[in-house]
């Protein structure tokens, strides 16, 4: 095992992490401000990817496809917020889990009905194809490097928005005291819709970005959804900072776990047994990480006291 390989794997973990962050940020904002568990967040990811694939096929432009993913996911977000989600803010978590579980069923089969059962094609733009050579002679995919950049940029933008802008102040106020911001004359239901649309747009954006190097298909949002939940739970629900750190932690654990665990077991076992045991453990690693974090800190790394 060379250091270069380890660095490359760390970059891969980072890239996976920042993409998870795009998903997790919306999820954690929505929970922090509205107190809502949204299982349908993965469906918004899927909506973004499908919208991007459809627009890319029609226009051939990746940038337009990304814009489409933002718009479509935000639109879908507003739609379900107005029709369904806003009735759930005052309900207990159980009702929220079930209602949004129902939304998953509707979204998945609805997308299949609209786009068919076969995966769609979405490709990275030609100018991001291929690799670049980083210091130490590491050859790394241009597109993945761009993903890391975009992800960090979005993260910085989010932090700026929350810390510096008027809407950010309202969001933070909303996290602390819901009645209070209502009393201060802020239009709560508009604020909630906006936050939900923002979270949805981020999810859709992530769907499009990832869709370009994966397969755009029905159900693609669910594995990501569960990972995003793991992320925000590790980070502490409601904390954007926690979401970022949790996302990177999960990204690194998963990537490096898949890479290192079979090798570690290889030191004490036969190669095939090590591959098998190591892979099994690697697929459980992030859940073990999450359970471990919660046992030490029952409200996540950056959760309230």
């Amino acid at each position: 095992m060379s250091w270069i390989l380890l660095i490359e794997q760390t970059l891969n973990g980072l890239q996976f992490g920042v993409m998870l962050f795009l998903m997790a940020a919306g999820l954690t904002l929505i929970f922090g401000v509205m107190g809502l568990i949204n299982l349908a967040h993965g469906s918004l990811y899927m909506v973004g990817a499908f919208a991007a694939a459809a627009v890319a096929a029609a226009t051939g432009s990746f940038v337009l496809a990304l814009v489409a993913s933002l718009v479509a996911a935000a639109f879908a977000g507003v739609l379900i917020e107005v029709l369904v989600i806003r009735r759930l803010y005052d309900r207990d978590h159980l009702d929220q889990v079930l209602a949004t579980f129902a939304l998953i069923l509707i979204f998945s089969e609805g997308t299949r009905w609209a786009f068919g059962s076969f995966p769609l094609f979405l490709d990275r733009p030609e100018y991001l194809a291929g690799t670049v050579t980083l210091p130490f002679g590491i050859e790394y995919s241009k597109y993945r490097l761009s993903l890391i950049g975009i992800g960090l940029l979005v993260a910085a933008g989010l932090f700026w928005m929350i810390m510096r802008t008027r809407i950010g102040i309202r969001i933070r106020a909303g996290e602390n005291d819901r009645e209070m911001i209502g009393a201060l004359g802020v239009d709560i239901s508009l604020l909630y819709t906006l936050i939900f649309a923002l979270g949805a747009a981020l999810a859709g954006f992530a769907g499009a970005l990832i869709g370009a190097i994966q397969s755009v298909q029905v159900g693609m949002g669910e594995p990501v959804l569960i990972l995003a939940f793991v992320v925000i739970v590790i980070g502490g629900i409601g904390s954007i900072k926690g979401a970022l750190i949790g996302a990177v932690l999960v990204g690194l654990t998963d990537t490096l776990g898949r890479f290192l665990l079979p090798q570690i077991f290889g030191l004490v076992m036969t190669p095939s047994a090590a591959t098998s045991v190591g892979s099994s453990l690697a697929s459980m690693s992030i859940y073990i990480l999450m359970a471990g974090v919660l046992l030490v800190r029952p409200k996540g790394l950056f959760g309230g006291a």
Partner: protein, 327 residues
């Protein structure tokens, strides 16, 4: 007789009458379908014990359902291949007798619930939901890569387990076994709900502070409720595996957890008979919606959404009104 008691009686009679009519008119598939509803009902009753009585929203109950299934699958697999389950420290043989499989399934899934509960109950609220989900995923991926017992392919058991004096491969006889178990579980849960434990547990769901002020720690109450809940769901898992003569990791997927929760909500959270009504309704919906369209999940989702948004309290809330405080 209250409305609720009447509804309970009607429900139990219907569940008995449908397969009997199907038996007379030689429609064995209807019997199988009803058996499925009965087994789902038991799983739902299990979850309801934690969710309805203790307020513990577990999104990982598929684990116990799956463990029950795998207990049955593994015991039967060793019995049908004539290989011992383990040889050290003492030899254990597989078995195909339901009378042994059930208690083992109940004990193993109960112990799993005890362990998972002991860890998970350190958290509350959303964190509890998510940590149960995490344990669910952990075991799901474990079974997928557990190649000794088929991994993702699962385990096929070619013939159902045996019960003294009955032919379990006959749909109506297998139904009878499940139905009687349902009755036993119902009676047990009904008693437990109004027992000392039940009173204290349901009080903890309403107000933990109150329970502490009368000198009881909620943690122990929750943990025992969670253990019993897991054990009941495990029993359902063993029956389900026997019904299908097959177990696979699908039983442990988070979709299964979601579905078990759906039974409870459709019927009515916290009502002893709620999950029975919920499971029956679910099977009925599946059966009738499936014929409508290839995209029937859309309708299922819409109905579920409607229930959550507009018919709180589920079927029981709709038909029997608010729960009578005590009789």
């Amino acid at each position: 007789m209250t409305k609720e008691t009447l509804l309970n009686a009607v429900l139990l009679c219907l569940l008995l009458a449908v397969p009997l009519i199907a038996w007379v008119s030689d429609e064995p598939f209807i019997i199988t379908l009803t058996t499925r509803a009965v087994i789902f009902a038991i799983a739902g009753i299990g979850l309801n014990f934690a969710l309805g009585f203790g307020g513990l929203v577990s999104l990982g109950h598929a684990v116990f359902f799956g463990i029950g299934g795998y207990v049955m699958g593994i015991l039967a697999y060793h019995a049908q291949t004539y290989t011992p389950l383990m040889e050290w420290p003492f030899a254990v043989e597989g078995t195909k007798s339901m009378l042994i499989v059930w208690p083992v399934a109940v004990v193993v899934s109960g112990l799993a619930a005890l362990a998972i509960g002991a860890l998970s109950l350190r958290t509350t609220g959303v964190y509890f939901i998510m940590i149960t989900l995490a344990f669910g995923q952990m075991l799901y991926y474990f079974t997928i890569s557990w190649s000794t017992y088929g991994g993702e392919d699962g385990l096929s058991i070619y013939v159902r387990n045996t019960f003294p004096g009955l032919n379990t491969m006959d749909p109506i006889q297998f139904f009878a076994i499940c139905y009687v178990l349902l009755l036993i579980v119902l009676i047990g849960v009904h008693c437990a709900a109004r027992s000392s434990f039940g009173l204290m547990l349901r009080a903890a769901k309403q107000n933990e502070e109150r329970v502490q002020a009368v000198g009881q720690g909620p943690y122990r109450l929750y943990l025992i409720a969670f253990t019993i809940s897991g054990a009941i769901t495990g029993l359902a898992g063993a029956l389900f595996a026997d019904l299908n003569r097959f177990v696979s990791p699908t039983m442990l997927s988070w979709h299964t957890s979601g579905e078990i929760m759906v039974f409870v909500i459709l019927g009515g959270v916290g009502r002893v008979f709620g999950p029975v009504a919920g499971a029956a309704l679910f099977i009925l919906l599946e059966h009738s919606l499936g014929g409508l369209s290839e995209y029937w999940h859309i309708y299922l989702g819409a109905i579920l959404l409607g229930v959550v948004l507009f018919a709180r309290g589920g079927l029981y809330g709709l038909l029997a009104g608010r729960e009578v405080a005590h009789d």
